[in-house]
Symmetry: none
Subunit: 202 residues, 2 copies
DNA sequence: TCCTAAAACAGACAAATGTCTGGTATACTA
DNA sequence: TAGTATACCAGACATTTGTCTGTTTTAGGA
């Protein structure tokens, strides 16, 4: 076979491998070989190893389908359960009523996280719109000024936490909504909002 | 070895495999074996095959690392490249300057998507704050009213697209920012914003 | 022109991995 | 109580896949 211009085939191979890796299906050396019509495995392998040398690919030597995308400081991906509704009872019981799972990059255990869909416009000025999905880290307390999910009168609500002497206040981020001053025994902090997601279109 | 309660180990194996698949690293039969301390490969394999029979996993028989997540309804998770900065040249060249990858649920090819970090407060009223991460579907055009990423004077900007006769307008969602009226030859639409993400805390 | 490096090929070996056959022990149930 | 299904182990074989050595061809520069 005649040779192709320098670097051109390598670029196409990188694109091919990258697509496969992003789709979660690492290719084998021979799959690359076939995809590009090479008559020898080594032709594909030489390109792949060159890409590793260039730092554009990473690999686990000896392992089948061992090529990876070089991770520049990325945390692992976990699946976070999205709660359909938050019941009055324990948060653990809510696991029964799932809306599905969403991928999330975190070093934390997935059991310490949950997702929740936002209702109402009370957090508009904080850039949290109705229908947004918030990802929450479970914790029974939080610092003043942080955005939390609290259970008030059997309903989960997203608000800004303000701590006073013996009680807490739940502030909206929208002047048209009232500040909640719940009885200390009537409120429970479920966790702290650590991420906001909004889908604009499929 | 004593046996464990019915179905319990299987559930944990399913979780393990799913995590690995979502992280883009399909496990081998023996990796599952080691992860659960089985003394025989077949122990792991029996569970995996059972999960396939139950329809909870899919597989490509004979292939190394051939287990997959069955794709029914729910879209698969892909890793979307986050661009560090958007250069004047082609979008493809920007692949060189990556900020990492983020998991994203989509049926679309990962090559059609990219992530970008938002600068400035021009989209405040649309709930898009500085530092937010937008996920963008590559397309050279979009409908009027949609939020797009456009390249104006060698700089990527997130704005609301408005189409006029022979030109386009880029509207901010913040009255304190000006409407951009770029020369048709000086502007290029890179894609449409399909999701907004904001990290509040680690 | 000669030299060097890149690109590709040929053929093989070795390791990783998928698959299979047969066996033991325990729980549940008819 | 016998039967059946599940969970697990032991050992082997076959395929897939990674890796290696050596050769040929061509582009581009000294």
């Amino acid at each position: 076979m005649g040779r192709t211009p320098a670097g051109e085939t390598r670029e196409r191979i990188f694109g091919f491998v990258r697509e496969r890796l992003l789709a979660g299906q690492p290719p084998t050396t021979r799959e690359v070989q076939r995809a590009f019509g090479f008559k020898a495995v080594q032709s594909a392998r030489a390109h792949l190893e060159a890409l590793v040398d260039e730092g554009r690919l990473a690999k686990e030597p000896g392992k089948a389908r061992g090529y990876r995308l070089p991770r520049r400081g990325g945390a692992p991906t976990v699946l976070v359960p999205v709660l359909g509704r938050v019941p009055a009872g324990s948060l653990e019981a809510a696991v029964e009523d799932l809306d599905g799972y969403i991928p999330f990059q975190s070093r934390r255990s997935p059991g310490k996280l949950f997702g929740l869909r936002v209702k109402g416009e009370s957090m508009l000025d904080a850039g949290i719109l109705p229908g947004d999905l918030v990802i929450v880290r479970k914790q029974a307390d939080a610092d003043s000024g942080q955005i939390v999910v609290a259970l008030v009168e059997d309903e989960a609500t997203v608000k800004i936490l303000r701590k006073r002497r013996n009680r807490i206040e739940l502030h909206p981020a929208n002047p048209r909504y009232p500040i909640l001053l719940p009885d200390p025994h009537e409120v429970r902090i479920l966790g702290k909002v650590i991420e906001v997601r909004r889908t604009l279109d499929v």
